[in-house]
């Protein structure tokens, strides 16, 4: 039997890789993919908890997270398409209208 902590550790490592990818990459598409990575890491830990606590609520939660991830990907990519139509830019340092 694999201990529960191993799954949580794996989930934490993948989540942090997603966080780091979101912070250090310039390309917006890769940043959106890092968000998907983080959501998947959370899903792994929810399924592991669901298995070890013998309760299906965690898996129902994963179902909802997948729904939200699909909606988020669709909206994010639509924003990206309209951004690309207006500016032809996908790098975060080329988008400086708001002087952030």
């Amino acid at each position: 039997m694999v201990p529960l902590e191993w799954y949580i550790g794996l989930s934490a490592v993948i989540f942090i890789i997603g966080v780091a990818g979101f912070m250090i990459r310039k390309n917006i598409i890769i940043m959106l993919m890092s968000i998907e990575l983080m959501l998947n890491a959370v899903n792994i830990s929810l399924v592991a908890f669901s298995h070890y606590l013998q309760d299906l609520r965690g898996q129902v939660m994963v179902f909802f997270i997948i729904t939200v991830a699909a909606a988020e990907a669709a909206i994010g990519l639509a924003i990206l398409v309209s951004l690309f139509k207006n500016k032809a830019a996908v790098h975060t340092d080329e988008i400086i209208e708001m002087k952030g």
Partner: protein
Amino acid sequence: MLPKLFFGYFAIVMIALSLAVITRRNPVHSVLWMLVLFFHIAGLYLFLNAEFLAAVQIILYAGAILVLFLFVIMMFNLKEELTAERFIGEWPIGVALGISILMLMFFSMSKITTGPPGQYTIEAIKAETHTKAIGKVLYTEYLFPFEIASLILLIAIVGAIVLAKKRG
């Protein structure tokens, strides 16, 4: 012993694949590594007796979301991307911040105390099949969140069309 070896293979390959996803220069390569990663996650779900979620993972993530990403990548200029700088100038700060959050997570992990186990043991799920069991929970206890999820999907459809259509 064998389950631990199996988990070790999955853990090492999944960490390597997620590192490949965030470091590749070509976004198409990133998407393809992510596809392999999603198949591994589906395998891990099977290992955890969640076969419905494994199927959903492959159909929805690998089949729908990644194809959406590939479609959008087709629209922009890959030649420019291949010569541009990949990371922001302050990337060591980002990596250090990530590692410090990871340390925090690992220190707090030793304090995990799980709650009492529920009623869905492996035998109970086996007796009524996994999809049926998860459907029962979803459509009774979580009916209202399920409706909200459908509303979120509707908003996503309308929002995507409004954002992406031509002005005028």
